[in-house]
Symmetry: C2
Subunit: 225 residues, 2 copies
């Protein structure tokens, strides 16, 4: 479904080159449930952004369903991303002037056309925020904002969800419910999940666990495959 | 050191009253190391903000060293806060246009007068960010931003540090180092700590653990006191 081949990502900061990601090769298959783990600063967010085509690698190639993203026009890449990928950001990226309902509806509004209000409400209910639909982000707790970001990624029913530390701000009970929700989507709808986490307990739910250290990835050989 | 008496905090949202904190009484003594735990949305951040005099309760009283904050002038309250309290925010609140070093120095710059550059660098080193001093927040990983927020709270050597989920974005190893750092400050300098966390392992380090549920607090009777 998504393939990374020899991906490098280097940031240049005052003439110092920071190698965030080094020679990463990774294959994601449809229906996968993958956990990405590693220390702070090791490159998890960078890899997720490259997988989601939100950021370009410095070198190497990204293949989406066999097609090289370098040969795709910007418009085609955006269309693919909007139709097939849902992203849960580490810092949420909610729109401050919109309330919970409007933030969750936003990707559907962007798509244009009518959308199902009941579906939006049911997604908001599934993350436990039915009582907060009129709140704006600054009127929510940290964990509530995280859940709005999660609901927003789910509402378009994407084929692939990239989740950057989706339970970091949640207590274990609420976090557990979110993971059950994602597992159910994976089982019942075949949604592909790649999530980064610092929580070892979470990795036990994943079919594959990929470790990352200083921009390089390691996968236990044959684990779960 | 800080006392909360019958604290209520109610938010009004479209004529609906949200009781974030209900009738909370809490005494914090100098040198305490207190953990505040509870589900997402239960009121942890609100209580920390009230303890730090960043937010006013809807009713009830806050006493700082026996003095009722209601009788203190704004200027005196600000002065007390700047001199004695360090705050680590759940969403970091870093200044985007300043780099790591400048963000960490900021409270010292606000205070005026000369400050010790070596001290600033040693605090940055203690949170593991010596290699990132020239980065701006948008050039940092989530866990690196969290550590800048922590360093900034430590640099003024406050008597009281209020930490809102200080390790949420950190892997267990980095998070463990941060907690060791805070414990050392508590032991060696007598710094008082109150931190909220979702991490049960962290609560074992605390001398007192206070549970919160729907805005009401529960403390195990006699636990650690
Ligand atoms: N725009 C940038 N400029 C320079 N360096 C950057 C930039 N963005 C990220 N980095 C660096 O790239 C490295 C990897 O960052 P990344 O955000 O992928 O880490 P992470 O694994 O997600 O960490 P965390 O667990 O703390 O969120 C870090 O060392 C970071 O400082
Ligand atoms: N400005 C506001 N207006 C309305 N309601 C608010 C406002 N700020 C917070 N709340 C509500 O107050 C309650 C407590 O929020 P608080 O941020 O203290 O929770 P928390 O325990 O820190 O949660 P988390 O673990 O998710 O960070 C939540 O239900 C939240 O929706
Ligand atoms: Mg990250
Ligand atoms: Mg909070």
């Amino acid at each position: 479904l998504i393939s990374l081949r020899n991906i490098h990502k280097t940031y240049l900061l005052d003439k110092v080159a920071i190698q965030a990601v080094r020679d990463v090769c990774l294959d994601i298959d449809a229906g996968d449930f993958i956990c990405l783990m590693g220390p702070s600063g090791s490159g998890k967010s960078t890899i997720l952004h490259i997988l989601g085509c939100i950021e370009h690698p410095s070198s190497g190639n990204v293949f989406i369903r066999g097609e090289n993203t370098r040969t795709m026009r910007d418009a085609a890449l955006s269309r693919f991303r909007n139709r097939h990928i849902g992203f849960i950001f580490q810092s949420f990226n909610l729109i401050p002037v919109l309330n919970v309902r409007e933030n969750v509806e936003f990707p559907l509004v962007i798509r244009g056309g009518k959308f199902d209000r009941d579906h939006v409400e049911s997604v908001i209910r599934s993350v436990g925020l039915s009582d907060c639909m009129a709140h704006r982000p600054d009127e929510l707790s940290g964990g509530q904002r995280q859940r709005v970001a999660i609901a927003r990624a789910l509402v378009t029913r994407p084929d692939i969800i990239l989740a950057d530390e989706p339970t970091a701000n949640l207590d274990s009970k609420t976090g557990g419910r979110i993971i059950d929700l994602l597992l159910a989507l994976n089982r019942e709808s075949g949604t592909t999940f790649i999530f980064s986490t610092h929580n070892e307990t979470l990795s036990r739910y994943a079919r594959r666990t990929i470790r990352i250290l200083d921009g390089e990835i390691y996968e236990a050989a044959g684990a779960g495959r």
